[in-house]
Subunit: 349 residues, 2 copies
């Protein structure tokens, strides 16, 4: 059973100052995580929106490429073509807007539970692929480089952008590594037989379901040989969508991947895949039951409730400390052992 940290959540919107005085933070969630020297770093996804002080309009934040700043669009509540039914996205007569815009901020900890967050974003929207924000970072260490991949959201779709840093002070954006729509990318931390690998989750408009795929790369910038490895299942907790969550860990059993799955009620749980050490496109085991599911108040109630969703985890020996977004609102931590994760498999697939 996962051991949730007693003082969860470790970040809530109230614990983070907005980036500007006329904005409010509505979510701190889905953080990347990595051991960096003596510290554990979280790369927080901070979701903000303008203070809503206009009774007749929703004030939507949009990054303006030419002005290089976030501008506020006024969307009339009483315009019949505007739909406010989804708390995350406003549908317009033509196109859509997100209700909030996200950037990333660093938080540092010596013990993995007590964190101090920086006041300024370390990565923020800066391109036409990021006008609706940047979301759900994962961090993969390869040598001295820390590669950060994240979802870039805009009217052009949802791409996966790659950035790199050595010091988490300055980050270079390296371009879109996956075309839209693709989310939930996580890069393996070393080459396997001469190639890098990444799990990814295309969103499909014809025929298929949102499933987990794998791709290979000679250089982390160019990706190919896409293979489908794990789909949604007919019954249970991951019937509607699945996607990779944390960066895979190499264990004596193979690569252990913590993934998320949602059911038809949009209830998000975490499970695991065991991938072959040498052929990571081969799924050897898969969780029958979730390894973490929404149970506490902070996981059940929030901006988008009944969600546990991880982007990062830190391994120390047999223990894996998972940092996960709770209800698209806050960040919580839970400890699981590799043995506990292995126990979720129960049977070979």
């Amino acid at each position: 059973m996962p051991k949730r940290y007693a003082n969860n959540p470790i970040f809530t919107p109230a614990s983070i100052a907005p980036s500007r005085a006329d904005f409010e933070v509505i979510g701190v969630f889905n953080a990347g995580a990595i051991q960096y020297g003596e510290e554990i770093l979280l790369l927080l996804r901070v979701a903000e929106r303008p203070l809503q002080n206009d009774p007749e309009h929703y004030l939507a934040p949009v990054y303006d490429v030419e002005k290089d700043e976030i501008v506020i669009e006024k969307l009339a509540f009483n315009h019949k073509a505007n739909s406010f039914a989804d708390v995350r996205v406003i549908k317009l007569e033509s196109g859509a807007r997100t209700t909030s815009i996200s950037h990333f901020r660093i938080a540092r900890s010596k013990d993995g539970y007590h964190f101090e967050a920086e006041a300024k974003p370390v990565i923020a929207p800066s391109s036409r692929y990021e006008t609706f924000g940047i979301e759900d970072p994962r961090i993969t260490q390869i040598g001295d480089n820390y590669y950060i991949n994240y979802s870039a959201i805009s009217e052009l779709g949802i791409t996966t952008m790659l950035a790199v840093t050595k010091d988490f002070a300055s980050c270079d954006k390296l371009g879109n590594i996956f075309h839209p729509d693709n989310k939930d990318v996580t890069i393996f931390p070393k080459k396997i037989n001469g190639l890098f690998y990444a799990l990814h989750r295309p969103s499909i408009s014809h025929f298929a379901t949102p499933d987990i795929w794998i791709a290979q790369s000679p250089d982390l910038l160019h990706w190919g040989n896409h293979m489908h490895i794990a789909g949604v299942r007919q019954e249970g907790w991951d019937t509607t969508r699945v996607g990779a969550s944390a960066v895979p860990f190499l264990t004596e059993h193979g690569w252990l991947e913590i993934y998320h799955g949602a059911d038809e009620n949009n209830r998000y749980c975490l499970g695991a895949l065991l991938l072959d050490a040498e052929r990571p496109w081969v799924v050897k085991r898969r969780s029958i039951r979730p390894i973490l599911e929404p149970e506490t108040t902070y996981e059940i109630d929030g901006f988008f409730g009944n969600v546990v969703f991880a982007c990062g985890a830190v391994r120390t020996g047999n223990e894996i400390l998972i940092y996960y977004g709770a209800a698209d609102t806050s960040i919580a931590a839970a400890m699981l052992t590799i043995d506990e994760i292995m126990a979720s498999f129960q049977e070979q697939i």
Copy 2:
């Protein structure tokens, strides 16, 4: 004005024998084209279905990976969850089936107009990404190799597969170069400043429209740095979807790309993009009016009417001979000069 060949169409379903006695050919269209030695080769997309001799069921063709053959699935007309409204796709309670399955066949010509088609497929479905068939091939010559990319259709989505041949007798499949959903990929015929480039058309499930993107590659197998280059337009003939058609030609003005666009009535026309010779992600000009649009009976009436759609064209000096699918049924040819295409631009964008 395009000069249509007087004896169009050059292929109709009646001119091609089915691959098995219990099948019928319902379309020969969307062919790749290339100059190969003294001949012009077409890579025909041949769409077949089982002879429909069961009054109570639609007999749907599906490639079975384990049996390595096309099997026939019986879909009850009177099952209320089965929808036959789209002539191309049958929607089921869970999932979908295509009404036909396509393979590729070679046809050869000395003069570009009189072709002889081979009796057997040169490329046919052979993987789990191709269970609903293979569609819309483009051929790019690079050195002695002829690279063929095509849409692979299955319940896993629509991927882009790459194959290579030297002789058009045996072809090696090299894997999926773009994840689902992605169609209308066309690879530039030479490296530009050390990298290969391809145009592609992601199908988007959030926010965006089906637009033309570009990607780069060091080796044709792995692709990255995806950039959006040309979207649908607010008014005119390409308001709903656009996609690359023929392999680009390098002219004194830049790369000339013949693309297709559809409007809200699913009327498909051809137009052109002029891309910068050194920076092919820069669109210098775009057709105001189509360079070819459905006008003749064989373009207006057919399996899916009001469609002209090209996958291949052959250039000789200032003349471009476009081979195009007409009404998703047959193949026609039309000659345009580069000057005529340039005249469609009219104004700088």
